[in-house]
């Protein structure tokens, strides 16, 4: 047998290993949906945060609780104690209650997802990277907005969808579908309202800050202080006597906050009159109340104003590149 004992022949360089620089002559497209690239990058970064998953998990609990309540018929006992809701509204009310119970967690989720959205870019001068590409200010703004809106929306909507599917499987024979055929649409809309208001206001705070912590602190202060002030204002401006006008005014004043507008609009979307017990301080006795949704147009106006102000504040801060110092 012959053996080749000579030096090994030089192997041709593998094209795979050839990482030397070459000009790029592949496709370069000016996409119509350039903002989606920005949004997708933001979403991917958020999905890497462990706390996002923790909060997303916690957001399941209000719907889980409502599911158990429906399953055990405890809602009917509660309704009987409260004076009795319209029986056909029991499912709608369950969804609204879960949505309301989820609000604080959604607010924390929004803080986690949105506070760093533009503030971190400001700190790292990332706008220089974005705006030196074929990306407009509006593309960047839309991308960042969707990058905050979508995670918040999904975290709000996914548990609701699970409960909806559970009800669809378990209670269709008991009138779940018949009582409110538009319930799924209402759920989507309510979750979208929460996502849109959080995303717009948070982007506004984030764009005016250099650090995510500062942006988060500003938004948290706005959210919590507005809620506390509205609550106090509602209670001190109204001495409850049981009249429906007074109740409507109190409801409106207590909803004049970020969280209040979200739940107020959601109650309008769910088209739900809530049953409540209050203590009449004049008559010194409990009173059964029907709490109608807060004035729709006021809530809608405030909600739209929050979105517009947030987006306008953000857009003002997105400036073209400072290219050369000199």
């Amino acid at each position: 047998m012959d053996f080749d004992l000579g030096p090994p022949a030089a192997r041709p360089a593998s094209p795979i290993a050839d990482l030397s620089y070459r000009g790029y002559d592949g496709p370069l497209s000016t996409r119509l949906f350039r903002w989606w690239i920005v949004a997708l990058a933001g979403i991917r970064l958020n999905l890497k945060k462990p706390w996002f998953w923790v909060l997303a998990g916690l957001c399941l609990f209000p719907y889980l609780f409502q599911g158990i309540t429906l399953l055990s018929n405890a809602d009917r006992t509660l309704q009987a104690l409260m004076g009795g809701n319209a029986p056909e509204a029991r499912y709608t009310q369950a969804f609204f209650n879960a949505f309301s119970g989820q609000q604080f967690l959604l607010f924390i989720t929004a803080l986690l997802v949105g506070a760093s959205s533009i503030a971190a870019d400001n700190r790292a001068n990332a706008l220089l990277v974005y705006l030196s590409r074929p990306i407009t200010k509006n593309d960047y703004l839309a991308g960042k907005w969707v990058g905050v809106f979508l995670p918040v929306f999904v975290v709000a909507f996914f548990p609701a969808l699970l409960l909806y599917l559970f009800c669809l499987v378990s209670y269709t024979s008991e009138g779940f579908w018949r009582d409110d055929p538009w319930l799924l649409g209402r759920i989507v809309l309510a979750c979208a309202i929460a996502g849109a208001i959080h995303a717009s206001l948070l982007l506004g705070c984030s764009s005016w800050s250099k650090t995510p912590r500062m942006a988060g602190a500003i938004y948290a202060a706005l959210y919590l202080v507005s809620g506390i002030v509205a609550g106090i204002a509602g209670s001190i401006t109204t001495v409850f006597s049981g009249s429906s006008e007074e109740a409507a005014r109190e409801i409106l004043v207590t909803h004049l906050s970020i969280g209040g507008v979200i739940t107020g609009l959601a109650q309008n979307v769910y088209h739900l009159t809530l049953q409540s017990m209050r203590f009449n301080r004049r008559a010194m006795q409990p009173v059964h109340l029907e709490l109608a949704p807060p004035a729709f147009w006021v809530m809608l106006g405030l909600g739209l104003a929050m979105v517009v102000v947030g987006l306008a504040a953000t857009r003002m801060r997105i400036r073209a590149v400072e290219v050369v110092r000199g």
């Binding site: 001068n125 990332a126 990277v129 030196s132 074929p134 590149v321 050369v324 110092r325």
Partner: protein
């Protein structure tokens, strides 16, 4: 062929005129952009990138109108900004790939290309590290990588050697030189460091007060008028100076034993003259060459005119 053509360009910020009636053709290759503070370099590059609308005149980059085709221009050019910049929370490959996607590359190609470019820029080993953990030199390189990823035909480099140590500076200048002279990428370098421009660029534009005050290829600008020779002797020699003066030359002693001689035009061979003078003075000539101006001389002349 010119990579950028500017004709009677005027750019204003409100009432202030930043660039006034500027006309220039930026040639292919590596071009240095020089000028003191407020000269209009920033404004010129902003205008070329399509961020500012000219008040008058026209401009085109790679044949695209700066007033109406800003997006298409930015798709074909790359910018390496002066300040540190990155996308927070990303490692180098993700960041450079993302920059490619923003420029319009398909995701898979952007990722493949990110690996190539990072390897070329010397960050191959560190490509999976978060960019926020990079040293100053590495951050300069990643800025170059993100500017290169989509294969731009024209690259704007703003102070590319900022904050680099001598070895890092050397490597960065080699990269810039290789890009423009080896890879066929047109480069416009804005720098305050004249040696950087001198080492990398073939052509220079000097601006002052929003106007172009000097342009041309560096080799041509450095040639001095008349017959001037730089001579270095072993030791300073007054007899040599006297001997040269007797031959009608003007003698300027520069530093140590170096002299610049301005000889009468049309005389005998300059080399012969100075060797004869050295022999006469008993001086030892170490070397001589036709005098050249430094880029600093050219710059100072241009901005002081």
């Amino acid at each position: 062929m010119a990579v950028a053509t500017i004709s009677h360009l005027t750019v204003r910020y409100g009432a202030k005129t930043a660039i006034e009636d500027l006309s220039v053709e930026v040639p292919e290759g590596c071009v240095g952009l020089l000028g003191p503070n407020g000269a209009g370099k920033t404004t010129l590059i902003k205008t070329l990138l399509g961020f500012l609308r000219p008040a008058a005149g026209t401009g085109a980059v790679l044949g695209l109108d700066v007033a109406t085709q800003g997006l298409r221009i930015r798709q074909r050019v790359g910018l390496m900004p002066e300040v540190d910049c990155h996308i927070p929370g990303m490692n180098a490959v993700t960041f450079v790939g993302y920059a490619g996607e923003l420029a319009g590359m398909p995701g898979s190609q952007a990722l493949r290309r990110a690996h190539e470019v990072l390897e070329y820029c010397g960050l191959g080993e560190a490509r999976y590290r978060n960019v926020e953990t990079y040293s100053t030199g590495m951050k300069q390189r990643i800025k170059l990588a993100q500017a290169l990823v989509h294969g731009p035909r024209l690259l704007f480099l703003d102070e590319p050697t900022n904050g680099l140590d001598p070895a890092g500076r050397d490597e960065m200048l080699n990269l810039v030189r290789d890009l423009s002279h080896g890879k066929g990428v047109n480069v416009i370098v804005s720098s305050h460091l004249l040696p950087d421009i001198e080492r990398t660029c073939d052509w220079v534009l000097v601006m002052r007060g929003g106007k172009l005050v000097r342009e041309g290829d560096i080799a041509g600008l450095r040639v001095v008028e008349g017959v001037q020779v730089d001579v270095e002797l072993r030791l300073p020699s007054e007899p040599f100076e006297a001997a040269m003066r007797r031959r009608g030359a003007r003698v300027f002693r520069q530093m140590g034993s170096r002299y610049r001689l301005t000889l009468a035009e049309g005389g005998t061979d300059p080399g012969r003259q100075l060797l004869e003078a050295a022999k006469e003075a008993g001086a030892q000539v170490r070397g001589f060459r036709p005098a050249l101006r430094s880029l600093e001389d050219i710059f100072m002349e241009a901005v002081e005119e």
